[in-house]
């Protein structure tokens, strides 16, 4: 267990946090990366997914996107991007070495949960409610903004939250391919057999992940226009899986 006390020493030494390449700088870098990728992915994925959901379409897209996102190792994609001629290890503004490759990979891996959840959320709005909206003489746009969106907001937001967790995890892996971020502490520690340092880095990464998830859960609760905590909790849990499972059961049956 000596590594644990080494890790503690590393965590309690001021110089491991501050200065050039200190954990604070790396953490800031990784948070910036994560947020950028999340914003880009939301801006790109959300409108498409919502629009298709409004039309009652996109089930194939939603399922394929999430299946592909699951099967492609984040590490492999990052590695391919970094070793390729473009984007390679090109720097990008404040994102550091291999910044461009990292942003691209992170954005791609943020898309599946956002697209899948948003699309399913809108398509799952009960037909009776839609009919009622039609009966009230709502136009398509009104129906979307006033009925479908508020009712599906919970699931849409949980998709973004899922993406946040995923992007933070992927951003850590970026360091395995010489990218920026806190993963560097872990990789460096393990490569130089300074396991205490590696584990210290892992502790910080894990704690930030839990804090992000907690903050996202809080944000989701405040933003959701239809807060039904107990019902929502159960639905959220299966949200991105249930339809996939159902679809697969169909596919097997045929």
């Amino acid at each position: 267990m000596r590594v644990l006390s080494d890790a503690w020493d590393y965590l309690t030494t001021a110089s491991s946090w501050t200065g050039d390449g200190g954990m604070l700088e790396l953490m800031g870098q990784q948070l910036l990366l994560t947020l950028t990728a999340l914003v880009v992915a939301t801006a790109v994925g959300l409108p498409i997914a919502l629009w298709l959901g409004h039309l009652g379409r996109g089930s194939l897209l939603a399922i394929n996107v999430s299946n592909v996102g699951r099967a492609v190792p984040t590490f492999a994609l990052l590695a391919l991007l970094v070793v390729a001629d473009w984007p390679g290890t090109r720097e990008l503004g404040p994102y550091g070495r291999a910044g461009l490759a990292t942003i691209i990979a992170l954005t791609l891996f943020a898309l599946p949960p956002i697209i899948t959840n948003a699309n399913i959320a809108v398509r799952e709005v009960s037909p009776a409610v839609r009919q009622a909206a039609d009966g009230m003489g709502m136009t398509g746009a009104q129906k979307f903004w006033r009925v479908e969106l508020p009712l599906s907001a919970g699931l849409v937001l949980s998709g973004i939250r899922l993406a946040l967790v995923q992007v933070w995890a992927t951003a850590t892996i970026a360091a395995l391919v010489a990218g920026p971020g806190l993963g560097e502490v872990v990789i460096d520690g393990f490569r130089r057999t300074n396991y205490g340092k590696g584990i210290a880095g892992a502790i910080v990464i894990a704690l930030v992940a839990l804090v992000l998830e907690g903050a996202a859960a809080l944000a989701q609760r405040t933003l959701d226009p239809v807060p039904k905590t107990t019902v929502r909790k159960r639905r959220r849990g299966m949200s991105e899986r249930l339809p996939i499972v159902a679809e697969e059961a169909d596919a097997v049956g045929t």
């Binding site: 590594v3 699951r70 190792p73 492999a76 395995l176 892992a202 990464i205 839990l210 299966m238 499972v245």
Partner: protein, 236 residues
């Protein structure tokens, strides 16, 4: 691509040499055959062990969660919290306990698969209609026999859906095991990045995806065999 590699004669540098460094290279597959096979075998080994371990842990947890609703929230919350921890952080955190071994990777991956498996097992058991359970009880089935003979078969399609999701994501995650030098194909990816070896990198990446698809199909196949009533019903 094929035209390029066949054009280079034996005297010229092979397609994976430093100079050419091609992404797709048959010569590489031949020369490094043993290394590729070894990495793939290790990858499969880690993935299968992790998923099996996870199923063995998830099933009792799902049963407990179903029996005691108060524990359900705790179990689901705990497994979700563990799922939140990035893989590159979880594996190092296990190192003080299990060292730089394959066990570390297997346990870490099993923890990730747990979230999906427990949820899908619970959902599967819940999908069994109450009337069916009541009829089984009425026919004199005890709790254990009812579970094994009635509930489990009916819950299987939903559970298998979860197993597929867990397996496919475990194949992808296994690559991260390279941090403790047990990453299967992930070790090749690591090496490919460090030495700027494109053929190795591309081969390992493609094999990862092929492996995920193959294992997925195997599960679908076994599900088809295990649940004959599902396709019989559709056929009639």
């Amino acid at each position: 691509m094929a035209a390029v590699s066949s054009a280079s004669s034996a005297a010229e540098p092979s397609c994976y040499s430093r100079l050419t460094n091609e992404w797709f290279c048959r010569q590489y597959l031949e020369d490094y055959r043993q290394e590729i096979v070894d990495a793939t075998v290790q990858h499969v080994q880690i993935t299968v062990l992790a998923v099996v371990l996870s199923v063995l842990v998830a099933f009792p947890l799902a049963l407990v969660a179903r029996r005691l609703p108060r524990l359900e929230t705790t179990i689901l919350a705990a497994s979700t919290a563990l799922y939140t921890i990035p893989s590159l952080a979880l594996l190092p955190l296990l190192v003080p306990f299990t060292g730089l071994t394959m066990t570390t990777v297997v346990i870490g991956l099993a923890i990730y698969a747990l979230t999906v498996l427990v949820r899908s097992m619970l959902e599967g058991l819940r999908s069994v209609p109450t009337e069916v359970r009541a009829s089984a009880t009425g026919l004199g089935y005890g709790a254990t026999r009812r579970l094994l003979k009635v509930e489990l078969p009916l819950a299987l399609p939903v559970m298998m859906g979860g197993l597929r999701v867990a397996t496919v994501s475990t194949v992808a995650l296994t690559t991260i095991g390279t941090i403790v030098s047990f990453g299967g194909l992930g070790n090749m990816i690591s090496d490919g990045v460090l030495t700027n070896f494109r053929a190795e990198l591309m081969t390992a990446s493609i094999l990862c995806i092929v492996l995920a698809v193959v294992l997925d199909l195997l599960i679908v196949g076994s599900q088809w065999l295990l649940t004959p009533w599902t396709h019989r019903r559709v056929a009639t």
